[in-house]
C-alpha cells in the first residue's frame, strides 16, 4: 500500500523549508521523496526516528541527523504509526510513556513506597550488619576522642571512681570488651557509655539513688550499649540514612533534600529508642544474673522521671518515655522468675560513692 502527503523537509545544508511530497510504501517499508534540488531520498523505515508531537509527525534520519522533515496530514500519520507499531519499531520507552499520567502517578507512589520501606527497614538493617566490617579499634578511637574532648573539662572524682570500678568488678556484666568506669562530679542526673568501653556516671545520678540495685541496673544498661556497639550502629544508620536520602532526593532540588534530611534526623531519634529498649532488657538480665533485686531498674527510671521537668511527646524525645520503660520493666518483673541475694560488698561500695 502506498500513502502520500505533503510536508516540509530540511536537507541539513540550510534552514530553507522545502515543500515536498512524502511517499510511504509499506511493502518495501520506505519513505521516498524528492528534494527541491532534484535529489531523490529513499529512507528505510528502520533508519528513521519517528516522533509525534501534537498534530505533527516528525521524522529524522538516524545517521544523517541533520536531515529531517514533518507532515501534519492526519491520515498519513495514522498509516505510518500503525505500520511502525506493527513492525515492533515503536520503542518500548514510548510504550511506557503511553501508559498515561494515572499509571505514572501510581508508579511514582509505588516507587516512593519502596523507597520508604527501604529507608525504614532495609537501610538500617544493612547499615547495622555492616558494622561488623568496621574494626573495633575504630570504636575505641571514636570513644577516646569523645572522652578527651568532653571529660577533660569536668573533674573526675578519683576515690568514687575507684569504688565504682571495684563495684563493677563484683558484677557479671556480660561484657565482651574491657570496661572502664569514671565518676564525674556534676549535678547532672545522667550517665553515658562511649564505644571504647568508657562508662561515665555523674555524681548527680549517684546521689539520687536509694539502693545499690539501681546502680547495678544502670551499669547493666550502659554495658549493653557498649556490647552491642550501639554508638557505631547509630553512626552507620545515620550516615547511611543521610546518604540514601540525598542520593534519592539530591537530584530533585534543595527543598526536597532539606525536607529529607529533617526526616532523617527525626527517624534517627527513634533508632536510639530501639537501642535503649535493648539495653533495658539486658540491664534487667544483668540484675537477674547477679541476684540483685530488679526493682532497682524501675526505681532508677523513677529517679530519671523526677528530673524530667518538661514532658515531651515520645516522637520528639530521644529517650523512650520513662513511663513506658517503667511499665515494661514492671511487666518483666511480674513474668520472669528470679532470686534475690543481699550483697554486702556491693552495698558497702555503694555507700562509699554516696558522699
Amino acid at each position: 500500500m502506498k500513502n502520500q502527503a505533503t510536508g516540509i523537509f530540511y536537507d541539513g545544508n540550510s534552514s530553507v523549508p522545502q515543500e515536498v511530497v512524502f511517499l510511504f510504501d509499506s511493502n518495501t517499508a520506505t519513505l521516498v521523496f524528492e528534494a527541491s534540488n532534484g535529489t531523490i531520498y529513499q529512507w528505510k523505515c528502520s533508519e528513521i526516528v519517528f516522533e509525534k508531537t501534537g498534530s505533527k509527525l516528525s521524522f529524522r534520519h538516524k545517521v544523517e541527523v541533520s536531515q529531517n522533515g514533518y507532515t501534519t496530514d492526519s491520515k498519513f500519520i495514522d498509516e505510518v504509526l500503525t505500520f511502525t507499531k506493527k513492525k515492533g519499531q515503536y520503542g518500548w520507552y514510548q510504550s511506557l510513556l503511553d501508559l498515561g499520567t494515572t499509571i505514572h502517578l501510581g508508579l511514582a507512589v509505588v516507587i516512593l513506597a519502596i523507597i520508604g520501606l527501604c529507608y525504614l527497614y532495609a537501610i538500617p538493617w544493612v547499615a547495622e550488619k555492616s558494622v561488623v566490617l568496621i574494626p573495633e579499634e575504630y570504636d575505641t578511637k571514636l570513644g577516646d576522642t569523645f572522652f578527651e574532648q568532653n571529660v577533660i573539662f569536668s573533674s573526675i572524682d578519683s576515690s568514687k571512681t575507684k569504688a565504682l570500678n571495684e563495684f563493677a568488678k563484683e558484677l557479671k556484666l556480660n561484657n565482651t570488651k574491657k570496661l572502664k568506669f569514671s565518676v564525674v562530679d556534676s549535678e547532672i542526673v545522667n550517665a553515658f557509655a562511649l564505644p571504647d568501653g568508657n562508662i561515665v556516671v555523674y555524681t548527680g545520678i549517684l546521689d539520687s539513688m536509694q539502693n545499690y540495685d539501681e546502680l547495678v541496673g544502670l551499669l547493666g544498661h550502659e554495658a549493653a550499649h557498649v556490647n552491642h556497639r550501639h554508638s557505631m550502629k547509630m553512626l552507620c544508620r545515620n550516615l547511611s540514612g543521610y546518604l540514601f536520602v540525598s542520593a534519592i532526593l539530591g537530584d530533585v532540588n534543595g527543598i526536597m533534600a532539606t525536607i529529607g534530611n529533617n526526616i532523617n534526623s527525626l527517624q534517627s531519634l527513634s533508632f536510639s529508642r530501639e537501642f535503649e529498649h535493648q539495653a533495658d532488657v539486658e540491664g534487667f538480665n544483668v540484675l537477674v544474673i547477679n541476684k540483685v533485686n530488679p526493682v532497682g531498674m524501675t526505681n532508677l527510671f523513677k529517679r530519671l522521671e523526677n528530673k524530667n521537668y518538661i514532658s515531651v511527646p515520645q516522637f520528639l524525645s530521644s529517650h523512650p518515655m520513662t513511663e513506658d520503660r517503667i511499665t515494661f520493666m514492671e511487666k518483666m518483673i511480674k513474668t520472669k522468675t528470679f532470686q534475690i541475694v543481699d550483697n554486702q560488698t556491693l552495698k558497702n561500695l555503694f555507700q562509699k560513692m554516696k558522699k
Binding site: Y10, D11, G12, N13, S14, S15, V16, P17, E51, T53, G54, S58, R60, V65, S66, Q67, N68, Y93, L96, L97, L99, G100, T101, H104, L105, L107, A108, I111, L112, L249, V252, N253, I255, M256
Partner: protein, 319 residues
C-alpha cells in the same frame, strides 16, 4: 535605514511542554534508573533533554537534541575514572601523612578540570543541538579558556572575591561568543562593572527588604544575561530582549514552591514546565536575520566527558 526596517523579521520563541508528559518521562526514567542501580542515568538524561528541546520551538519549528545515552555513558565512565584518580592521589598523601598536600593537590586537580569540563560540556551540548537540521557549535579553544580561567580564578582569590563578577562575565563572554548557530554567531556584550553593581544593589536591597527584593534581583540578572545577547550574521543581527518582571518571578517561585511542597516533590515536572514556559515566553527576538537562510557549518563531534563532569561538579548554566 528604510531598508533595515523593511527587512525586519518576525521571530517567536516558545515552550509548549506539558507537565503531564514531562512527569511521565521523569517517572519512567526514575523507575529505569532505580531498576538498573543508576546505570540508566545517562540514557534517562538523554530522554529528558530530547523532550525539553523538542518542546522548545523557534518560529514553529522545534529544537532537537541528538545526544545519546551511550555517548553520555562513556563520558560518565571517564568522569568517574578522573574522580577516582584524584581521590587516589588524595588517599596516597593521607597515607604518607601529608593530608594538607593531598588536599591542596585535590583542589588543584578540581580547578584544573573545571575549565576542561566547561569546555567539554559546551562543545558536546552545542554540537548535539540543532534547529531545522542546522547544528549549533562551540568553537572555543580549550587551552585559551584554561589559561584565562586560571588567571580569573587567581584574580578572584587575591581580591577576596571582588573580581568574581568580572570573572563570571568574562567567562560568559568567552563561552557565548564562541557559540555558532550554523553560519550565524552569538555574542555577549555584558560588562563586569555593571554586573558588579547589579549584584551589589541586589544583595543589599534583598537584605533591607527581608528578601523580597530577591526576585527583582533575579529579574535583573536574567535581563542582564538576555538583553546583552545578540546573534550576528554578516551585517545582520537578532537582538534578544527579556520581558520578565520581578512580580512574575515572585509568583512563579511561590506557586512552584507550593506545588513541590504539597505534592511531596511529585509536582516537580509541573514546576519545571511552568518555569520554562514563563522564561521562553518572555524572551523577545527582534532583528533582520533571515532564519530561512541559515547554512550548515558545524561538523559532527563525539565526546561526552564534559557533559558528565559538569553534572558531577553541579555547574548550572542557562545555555
Amino acid at each position: 535605514m528604510e531598508e533595515i526596517l523593511q527587512t525586519e523579521k518576525k521571530y517567536k520563541l516558545d515552550f509548549q511542554g506539558k507537565g503531564n508528559d514531562f512527569f511521565g518521562i521523569i517517572i519512567v526514567n526514575w523507575l529505569l534508573t532505580i531498576c538498573t542501580l543508576g546505570i540508566y542515568y545517562p540514557w534517562a538524561k538523554a530522554k529528558k533533554l530530547q523532550f525539553l528541546y523538542g518542546q522548545t520551538s523557534l518560529n514553529g519549528d522545534a529544537f532537537a537534541f541528538h545526544g545519546t545515552g551511550k555517548e553520555m555513558f562513556k563520558g560518565f565512565l571517564k568522569a568517574i575514572l578522573l574522580f577516582f584518580i584524584l581521590g587516589g592521589i588524595f588517599g596516597l598523601f593521607i597515607y604518607l601523612k601529608m593530608p594538607m598536600v593531598g588536599l591542596l593537590l585535590f583542589y588543584f586537580g578540581i580547578f584544573a578540570i573545571l575549565p576542561l569540563a566547561i569546555h567539554g560540556s559546551y562543545r558536546y551540548r552545542m554540537s548535539r543541538t540543532s534547529w531545522r537540521g542546522i547544528r549549533f557549535g562551540y568553537r572555543g579553544d580549550k587551552q585559551e579558556l584554561a589559561i584565562n580561567f586560571v588567571k580569573w580564578i587567581f584574580l578572584t582569590i587575591i581580591t577576596f572575591g571582588i573580581y568574581g563578577p568580572w570573572m563570571s562575565i568574562n567567562l560568559r563572554k568567552y563561552l557565548v561568543g564562541n557559540v555558532r548557530f550554523g553560519d550565524a554567531e552569538f555574542d555577549y556584550s555584558g560588562d563586569g562593572s555593571d554586573y558588579f553593581i547589579l549584584n551589589l544593589k541586589g544583595y543589599f536591597l534583598s537584605i533591607f527588604t527581608l528578601g523580597i527584593y530577591f526576585f527583582w534581583w533575579q529579574k535583573d540578572l536574567f535581563e542582564y544575561y538576555i538583553d546583552n545577547l545578540t546573534v550576528n550574521k554578516e551585517n545582520k543581527e537578532i537582538r534578544l530582549n527579556s520581558t520578565v518582571t520581578g512580580g512574575g518571578f515572585f509568583k512563579l517561585a511561590i506557586v512552584n514552591l507550593a506545588i513541590i511542597v504539597f505534592t511531596l516533590g511529585l509536582g516537580y515536572a509541573w514546576a519545571v514546565t511552568r518555569t520554562l514556559n514563563y522564561i521562553f515566553n518572555n524572551i523577545q527576538l527582534d532583528g533582520n536575520i533571515d532564519l530561512d537562510a541559515l547554512n550548515q557549518t558545524e561538523e559532527n563531534y563525539k565526546d561526552a566527558t564534559g557533559e558528565d563532569l559538569s553534572d558531577f561538579l553541579d555547574l548550572d548554566f542557562v545555555m
